[in-house]
Amino acid sequence: MDESKLYELMDEYRNPPHLGKPKDYDALEEGSSASCGDRFTVYLKLSGGTVKSADFEGSGCVISTVCMSRVCGAISGKTKEQIRSMDIKDVKKLIGIDQISASRISCAMLGLETIKKALADKKRM
């Protein structure tokens, strides 16, 4: 199955479940793609070394937005170490596709990369 399946997810793209700035959060990080124009801010609520919840603001293409939102959903309850070890294989599993073209890998990974940056022990609020 290839990335065209993502385009069946237009409703989720329009209304991603994790879109919106939460009232309180413990970490934030901005992520953007220099060539695409995608720009996200992620907000993490932490408890010890565990992510309690994750949300985001911003906009991007269908692939980056849906991946961003699903990664937010998937990391709740995960430890920092678990999240740091996630990679493209995990993102592919989350969105239920196994083929993403080379030029769109960066779209799919923008959310996870931004979350990893947020967990890199800086910008803690």
Binding site: Y7, S33, C36, G37, R39, G60, C61, V62, C107
Partner: protein, 411 residues
């Protein structure tokens, strides 16, 4: 202008036969290549010519004295002569570089700019005509950016009131995002009045119109071979002779010197001064063949055909609901259409089009300040056309855009 009249400007059907890649199918559809502002396709004459070079002329020019090297040198020099003639310059004003980016970077290192000097760039520029100048802030050079109006045209008043400390005005001939063709002749005249030099980024214009550096009044002018039917890896920096004695070295090394003693180095004159090391001889040769190809068609015919394509392109999408089209009303545009489908990211538009065989670029097009600050967008989809495109392709494109806007957009 009727379709028949347009057809006479240039025989696109005949031209298409010279471009083998245009018979390729993409995702089950005939390729419609609308990404020529990123790189043009190459005619058989260039592709075969490069093969001919390696099978018949290959040696390192300007160095060895054997027969083959002599032939390579003649071919390399002939390419420089063709480029010079193409833009009405002298051969010793033509420096071969990799591309426009390298040309402008070279200029930023080699021009005698110093603390207290001012460089005037513009909002319409590609990153490659912004970043080399911003870097000079580190040595105390001020960098200004001329604003654009709602029709994406430069604020000419800015050029009429250049401060006294302006040493260089650098501006694109044609925007790679909006397609705006700037009045570089007027800008050059105003810059010269203010005592400043002028650099023209002709990356988007050189493929599409007759360039005359003397008529423009350019002191420096840069363009890339690969956008004008030539191979990758070869570009040109024109440097007006009057500047030569003032310019500093850029890359140093082989063949750019007259003599080297460890305590005394004498450099060659431009262009060899800026061609250190073995050059992209194949690229220069290929660019020469691309120029031959364009000359056979005639740049006047190229320009007129481009104009017909541009008008048809803009006319075709104007009636499509749910589009933001980033073009003004002045008509001074090259064959570039930047647009967005409301409610969709430009990558997704390009993705849907790709599924039907259309090749378009999407995103920032290396012009983030213009797109973010002036178009207020997070990218655009861009259709950019050339001599091998047809009015029929534009019609199919407009129909597909309509489908995408209706199906996925927010009208």
């Amino acid at each position: 202008m009727s379709m028949e009249r347009r057809g006479k400007l240039l025989d696109a059907a005949q031209i298409r036969k010279d471009f083998p890649i245009l018979s390729k199918k993409v995702n089950g559809h005939p390729l419609v290549y609308f990404d020529s502002a990123a790189t043009s396709q190459k005619p058989r004459q260039v592709i075969d010519g490069i093969r001919y070079f390696y099978e018949n002329l290959n040696a390192n020019p300007l160095r060895s004295i054997h027969k083959l090297a002599e032939e390579a040198t003649i071919a390399y020099n002939a390419a420089r002569d063709k480029v010079a003639k193409f833009i009405n310059a002298d051969p010793d004003e033509i420096v071969f570089v990799r591309n426009t980016t390298e040309a402008i970077n070279l200029a930023s290192y080699a021009l005698p700019l110093k603390k207290g000097d001012r460089v005037v760039s513009s909002y319409l520029e590609h990153h490659s005509n912004i970043l080399p100048w911003l870097r000079l802030k580190d040595i105390g050079v001020t960098v200004d950016f001329v604003d654009v109006d709602d029709e994406y045209e430069l604020d000419m008043e800015h050029y009429r009131s250049l401060p006294n400390d302006t040493r260089l005005v650098t501006v694109s001939h044609e925007s790679n995002v909006s397609g705006t063709v700037n009045d570089v002749r007027e800008i050059a005249a105003l810059a010269h009045e203010a005592g400043a030099m002028v650099l023209i980024d002709a990356a988007q214009s050189a493929p599409h119109m007759k360039i005359d550096v003397k008529d423009i009044g350019a002191d420096l002018l840069a363009f890339s071979g690969h956008k004008m039917l030539g191979p990758f890896g070869i570009g040109v920096l024109y440097v007006n002779k009057t500047l030569h004695e003032h310019m500093k070295p850029f890359l140093t090394g082989g063949e750019m010197i007259e003599s080297v003693r460890l305590n005394d180095v004498k450099y060659q004159k431009i262009p060899r001064f800026y061609e250190a090391g073995t050059q992209d001889v194949e690229g220069a040769y290929g660019l020469g063949l691309a120029i031959d190809y364009l000359n056979r068609i005639g740049m006047g015919n190229v320009e007129a055909y481009d104009k017909a394509l541009t008008e048809h392109l803009f006319d075709s999408v104007r009636s499509v609901k749910g589009l933001d089209v980033y073009g003004g009303k002045s008509g001074k545009y090259g064959p570039i259409l930047s647009f967005n489908v409301k409610g969709l990211h430009s990558h997704d538009v390009a993705y849907f089009l790709d599924k039907k065989g259309f090749a378009l670029r999407s995103g920032f097009h290396c012009a983030q300040p213009f797109i973010e600050d002036k178009l207020k967008a997070n990218g655009t989809a861009r259709a950019s056309l050339y001599i091998y495109n047809t009015l029929a392709e534009i019609d199919r494109f407009a129909a597909e855009i309509k489908n995408i806007a209706r199906k996925y957009g927010r009208i």
